[in-house]
């Protein structure tokens, strides 16, 4: 049975894909980003105990509970991103601290490994329109009652499709293994008979033979492209049927009530963007959204709610371990929101996480009145983002209209009532509510008061100072370098002037750099990693389990045993726990 957690008790987390600014070396050569990832991970290993991830994606988990992944988007063709994932947290402040610690860890590791030649950018869109960036995860009720029953029946009915897809994927894997054997034998047989064996190696492996260790994990470019197409074709029937189930059953109540909030949220959480036509937009990623739900990039879809992780569980995780399929039957699942921007301003990031969390808490508690329904949500989203004056009126179902600020205020007031009606809301919730209200007031009265607090306001301030005569390239560089995680990055330069408002104490970030958050599965994961990493026993980790040892002596630690979170009986313990996280 699905449970209803209180305020700031569900598990939450952030995933951030960092872009790379690379000078001096050809960054887009085959496997280039992968080599950067490997060197970056080597640096992380020197700072923190780490273990390899047991996952389809290559990556590591570290002792602070989080993970670092290589997001393999066509690496053989020059693509690929560094992705950091925070550990599971509970409160917005906790999550903000671990996100900032992750930014600090990865940027300092990049500086240590590459000097000024490689810097990370925490943004969402490059100058050529490629999209990546942030994803938010909130543990939430997938469905309840008859809807949940319908979902479970659907999972049983599609299982034959799932098994057929697994068999096809095993067949494909066998073909790939066969190819690698064939390629190796071909090279070893012919290398001594041809004048330039390096050319043969590049065709067969995508790199020279003695560089295989650092080669792209997906093989040569032609093989990578072929596998990408074949995998999509093989999984398409399952993907289509499974997506139909998700649209019908997944997070229906939350999606219905949360969507207007998310559509209007860029006025607070948008990072700002200089568009191709030179106009300034409130958000970086939002204008690229082309559907409300989708798998997220699987077929060039850019959804607000991403279901990609569910599909990965079916065709990837459960392919390797069929027991993973059972995870899909649970009533509590991960709601993934792909709409948000990667923030540099602490206040903006705190509000993005915190207000969304509070609204979801209110929805699940049944304390959120049915909000206004937006007539065309995606069109409204684009119009809101294209209007920095914040005067655009959103057409609502029923013929009325409202501004994004008015829509945000309706959620603010609903959350205020929710907190008043709650038995024992945490103090942080009241603090967050005040900050939310003050921010909306400032947006209405004088947005310039929010320079240093909201990213889009701060970025617009920088662009204004550059002057209207600045070229598009110059303005776009301001847009991008604002997000660079280095002392040369423009936001970091502004921080050094004292103009940027902070939410966290530096000691909280320092603490989060080395320790997992308390009261979550990450607490256990991080402590096991610190104890076993580098020891004699093999240890692997994923988000759900720790695997220690091999063969008959193997042990599996199930992190799900620590859910659901129950608030300790005494307030004193709660405060103590919170103080630990806040340093």
């Amino acid at each position: 049975m699905a449970s209803k957690p209180g305020i700031f008790e569900r598990l939450i987390g952030l995933e951030t894909e960092y872009a790379l600014a690379i000078t001096g070396t050809p960054s887009n050569e085959p496997g280039g980003k992968y080599r950067v990832f490997r060197q970056l991970v080597a640096q992380v290993r020197q700072r923190l105990p780490t273990v390899e991830a047991r996952h389809m994606k290559e990556g590591i988990f570290h002792a602070a509970g989080g993970a670092v992944w290589f997001e393999a988007e066509c690496p053989a063709a020059g693509g690929g991103l560094i992705e950091g994932a925070t550990p599971e947290c509970r409160s917005p402040r906790q999550l903000l601290a671990w996100q900032r610690a992750q930014d600090e860890l990865l940027s300092s590791c990049a500086e240590q490994a590459f000097g000024p030649d490689v810097r990370l950018l925490k943004n969402d869109r490059d100058a050529f329109g490629n999209i990546y960036g942030a994803q938010e995860n909130y543990e939430a009720n997938f469905a309840t009652g008859c809807v949940l029953l319908g979902w479970r029946v659907g999972l049983v009915l599609i299982f034959p499709f799932v098994v057929i897809t697994w068999l096809l994927l095993w067949l494909l894997a066998a073909v790939v293994i066969g190819y690698m054997l064939f390629a190796s034998l071909t090279y070893l047989l012919f290398e001594r008979y041809i004048a330039r064996p390096q050319g043969l190696a590049r065709i067969l492996f995508g790199c020279e033979f003695d560089q295989l260790e650092h080669a792209s994990p997906t093989g040569p470019r032609w093989l990578e492209a072929s596998l990408s197409v074949v995998t999509r074709v093989l999984t398409f029937p399952l993907a289509a049927v499974f997506y139909g189930l998700l649209v019908v059953f997944a997070f229906r109540k939350i999606r219905r009530q949360l969507t207007p909030f998310l559509i209007s949220r860029p006025i607070i959480a948008g990072a700002g963007m200089v568009a191709d036509d030179g106009h300034f937009h409130l958000a970086d990623k939002a204008p690229a959204m082309n559907c409300l739900t989708g798998y997220g990039g699987w077929l060039a879809d850019r959804p607000i709610y991403s279901f990609g992780h569910f599909f990965k569980t079916v065709y990837a995780d459960a392919w390797l371990n069929p027991a993973e399929y059972l995870q899909l039957f649970y009533g509590r699942q991960r709601l993934q929101i792909a709409l948000g921007d990667s923030n540099r301003a602490e206040v903006a990031e705190y509000l993005r996480i915190g207000t969304t969390l509070l609204v979801i808490d209110a929805i699940e508690a049944g304390h959120l009145p049915q909000p206004a329904t937006i007539r065309r949500p995606l069109q409204a989203l684009r119009s809101i983002c294209a209007d920095p004056s914040l005067t655009y009126r959103i057409p609502l179902v029923g013929g009325q209209s409202c501004t994004a600020i008015e829509l945000q205020r309706s959620y603010l007031e609903a959350c205020r009532v929710f907190l008043h009606q709650h038995d024992n809301p945490p103090a942080e919730a009241w603090h967050l509510l005040r900050l939310w209200e003050e921010t909306l007031d400032a947006l209405e009265d004088d947005p310039s008061d929010l320079v240093g607090s909201l990213d889009w306001v701060t970025k617009q301030f920088l662009l204004d100072k550059a002057g209207q005569g600045a070229s598009w390239e110059t303005r776009k560089k301001i847009d991008l370098r604002y997000h660079e995680l280095s002392v040369e990055g423009y936001f970091d330069r502004l921080v050094s002037t004292g103009i940027a408002a902070s939410v966290l104490d530096p000691a909280e970030i320092e603490y989060a750099l080395r320790n997992p958050p308390s009261g979550t599965p990450a607490t256990v994961r991080g402590r096991y990693i610190r104890e076993f990493a580098g020891g004699d026993e093999l240890i692997l980790a994923n988000w759900r389990r720790i695997f220690i040892g091999r063969g008959r002596h193997a042990r599996v630690i199930d992190l799900a045993r620590y859910r659901p979170f129950t608030r300790p009986a005494t307030r004193g313990t709660t405060r103590k726990s919170r103080r630990k996280d806040q340093g």
Binding site: I22, G133, T474, K477, R493, A507, N515, S518
Partner: protein, 60 residues
Amino acid sequence: MIRSDVMQMDNMTAVEVASVDAVTIAPVRALHEMLAQIAVDASANAAEYLNETKVPYGGE
């Protein structure tokens, strides 16, 4: 029943807490000077920077 080899939340001991005093606070620099520096930097090699930060194929 939680396995005995798994650390339980209730049993966690006090954690090391970083001291605020240990953090070096950078000296505050003048805003107008910083804005001028940013304007100069932004106009230098801007197109090159856009190429350096290209993310082919994007992400999720």
